[in-house]
């Protein structure tokens, strides 16, 4: 049976205004409402589509956070087979991708999946290097910006999006990790009654993240809202006048 692991994270919901914690180094968790990372939601959908098409066992792993159970039960209602909550993480401090990837890789190694799917990025993680780091630790190939996957024997056929509206069809040897940009079909709706049914029948396994390796990590010195800059100075006049003004501005700045 094909094993698919989906890594799904909860991220700050931008419907609410974000507040900075008194420490000035993090978001204020007490004001934060969390929601599934949209790209991870697509990764779950893609895993379920593959399962429906060619059969697979789908495991969804998510770092513990407020509301994570609801998200996992909802994944089960969509068709996920195994639900894992990664526990023991510092609630105040968001783990870096490096330490989270190490913890996840240890856990995923035991599952020995054919395919790992995760969102290509998240609103609180635009670098999107969680997938690549997990892939690297497990010695798997990683391809990001995927918008559709099917499995054929020991390979995955995936569509990768490039800037400028280009699409590439790729063949990737399994096992592999893919960063999902969008699932083939939009994430489905599951009736609350089905989610509630899962709440009484599905099991969420709690697995400790273990000691996180924080060596060589960056630390956040200050977190703040973008500060309003001084008003822009508009250069006006004919093209030649504007060019002349621009030259003198650049000279004044010592750039010419």
């Amino acid at each position: 049976m094909t094993e698919i692991v989906v890594i799904a994270r909860l991220v700050p919901d931008l419907v609410e205004e974000l507040e900075i914690a008194p420490s000035g180094k993090a978001l204020d968790r007490s004001w934060l409402r969390l929601i599934i990372n949209e790209f991870d939601n697509h990764a779950i959908e893609q895993a379920i589509i593959i399962k429906e098409r060619s059969g697979a066992k789908v495991t969804v792993i998510s770092p513990d956070a407020e509301g994570v159970e609801d998200m996992l039960y909802s994944s089960a209602a969509k068709g996920a087979d195994r639900l894992i909550k990664l526990t023991g993480l510092d609630e105040e401090k968001k783990p870096t991708n490096k330490s989270l990837a190490q913890s996840l890789a240890g856990l995923i190694k035991e599952i020995n999946p054919d395919l790992i799917l995760t969102g290509v990025q998240a609103n609180d993680d635009l670098t999107g290097d969680l997938g690549p780091q997990v892939a690297d630790l497990l010695d798997m190939p990683y391809v990001g910006y995927i918008s559709g996957v099917s499995l054929e024997g020991s390979t995955a056929k995936a569509l990768k999006e490039y800037p400028g509206g280009l699409l590439a069809e790729m063949e990737i040897s399994l096992p592999a990790a893919l960063g999902i940009q969008a699932s083939e079909e939009p994430p489905r709706y599951v009736a609350i009654s089905k989610v509630r049914q899962m709440m009484s029948t599905a099991n969420i396994e709690e697995i400790s993240a273990g000691e996180l390796d924080t060596e060589g990590e960056f630390t956040i010195e200050r977190m703040y809202l973008p500060e309003a800059a001084e008003k822009a100075e508009m250069l006006e006049g004919s093209e030649e006048e504007i060019a002349a003004q621009l030259t003198s501005v650049l000279e004044d700045l010592g750039l010419l």
Binding site: V15, E16, E17, Y189, V190, A191, I192, S193
Partner: protein, 401 residues
């Protein structure tokens, strides 16, 4: 394979049909005469592959699969026109149409625009996807304080259940503020739930998401159980219907009144304050869930008739035959879908009726209506000068005049 398909289908048909009997008077469906009045009176019957009468016929024949695979049910605005006209008193809206939507939704056949409203309702407690923390933000523009019952703990005469569109929609918010001013002016003692209020869930229920309705009802009941009040008042006929007819089935019982009924109680105080705003011809649109479903036809009309200068005129469809605005049964979240199917909007039909009776103002009493009808006045020829006003706005205008 064919025999398999049939054997899978039969128990489901039987199960579905029997589930209808669990709904009050649901067994009346057995007595259907196939008169087709329901399909004929249905404002969107023409755009359905399976209007209600045909659904019953097919169900009797044991054929359900095609019906549930079709998207006909998403044209149903839950307006109760079919239920009202049925000579055999079959609860077509509550039993057949709503149950069919539930089945279609469980099968995952949900139009995308409806899906996001349902997801928002689950996530934020309102179908608009607005911040639940800002649910009471409409009170900030008032020049008096509105009590939030959990903060300002004391017994209240009225718990005002504000509702989704009344709390957040920029046009409807103005109506809400006007109602608050009227209540304040009349010394009516009320508090609101503020950020603790969740959608009443009735339109989500009628759009087939019963589980979501139950979840929202439980959340509201949890808060209401901790508050002291005599009655619930609401401007929203859908919330009114939920509290009056649906919450009691879940074990949550609260007396509820529509704001037009409460204002009518204060008519003696109001009348001397009302100045002439006429002459204007006003047509009143009966909201489905205030009128046809809950039989409140007169309170809104009595209020309108108390305003000097108003000539109340009736449109072709009025009282029990009122025409739905198109927002019911999930219609607020299916505009694009229904436009593609029917290429017409019920709100536009209604505005045409208002044009026909020469109305200057279309008076409404439901939060779904001001934006729907105002949009329709922009597209219906001859409706350019028709104003859409909530009854509360007309009363307030007569006081301020």
């Amino acid at each position: 394979m064919a025999s398999n398909a049939i054997s899978n289908q039969l128990p489901f048909t039987k199960e579905f049909k029997e589930s209808l009997f669990l709904i009050p008077e649901g067994e009346n469906i057995q007595t259907c005469l196939q008169c087709a009045s329901c399909s004929g009176v249905c404002p969107f019957g023409f755009a359905m592959d399976y209007p209600p009468g045909r659904m019953i016929a097919w169900m009797r024949a044991g054929i359900l699969e095609e019906m549930l695979q079709s998207d006909s049910v998403w044209m149903c605005v839950s307006c109760f026109a079919c239920t009202e006209i049925c000579p055999k008193e079959i609860p077509i809206t509550q039993a057949l149409m709503t149950r069919a939507k539930e089945e279609v939704l469980l099968a995952g056949n949900v139009p995308a625009e409806l899906q996001s409203a349902l997801e928002f309702s689950q996530q934020y407690g309102n179908p608009l996807g607005e911040s639940s923390r800002k649910r009471a933000a409409w009170t900030e523009e008032l020049d008096f304080e509105v009590s939030i019952v959990r903060k300002d703990k004391r017994p209240y005469e009225f718990l005002w259940f504000v509702g989704d569109y009344a709390s957040y929609h920029p046009r409807v918010k103005k109506v809400t503020q006007t109602v608050a001013r009227l209540f304040h002016m009349l010394g009516i003692d009320f508090g609101i739930m503020g950020p603790d209020e969740n959608s009443d869930g009735d339109s989500q229920r009628l759009a087939g998401e019963r589980g979501l309705f139950e979840m929202l009802a439980e959340k509201n009941a949890k808060i209401l159980g901790r508050c002291e009040f005599n009655e619930i008042v609401t401007t929203d006929p859908h919330a009114y219907n939920a509290f009056k007819n649906e919450y009691p089935r879940l074990g949550f019982e609260y007396p509820v009144r529509h704001y037009t009924e409460v204002l009518l109680d204060h008519l003696d105080e109001l009348t001397p304050k009302l100045k002439d705003i006429g002459p204007i011809r006003v047509a009143y649109h009966d909201p489905c869930y205030l009128g046809r479903v809950n039989k409140i036809y007169e309170a809104p009309r009595q209020l309108l008739q108390a305003i000097p200068g108003i000539e109340l005129v009736e449109m072709a469809h009025n009282r029990s035959t009122s025409l739905c605005c198109g927002g019911g049964g999930g219609g607020m979240w299916l505009d694009g879908f229904r436009w593609e199917k029917a290429e017409s909007r019920l709100s536009e039909w209604r505005i045409r009726e208002a044009v026909t009776v020469g109305a200057d103002v279309l008076a409404v009493a439901c939060p779904y209506e001001p934006p729907r009808f105002e949009d329709a006045t922009k597209t219906v020829p001859g409706a350019e000068n028709i104003q859409v006003k909530d009854i509360a706005e007309l009363i307030f205008a007569a006081i301020e005049n």
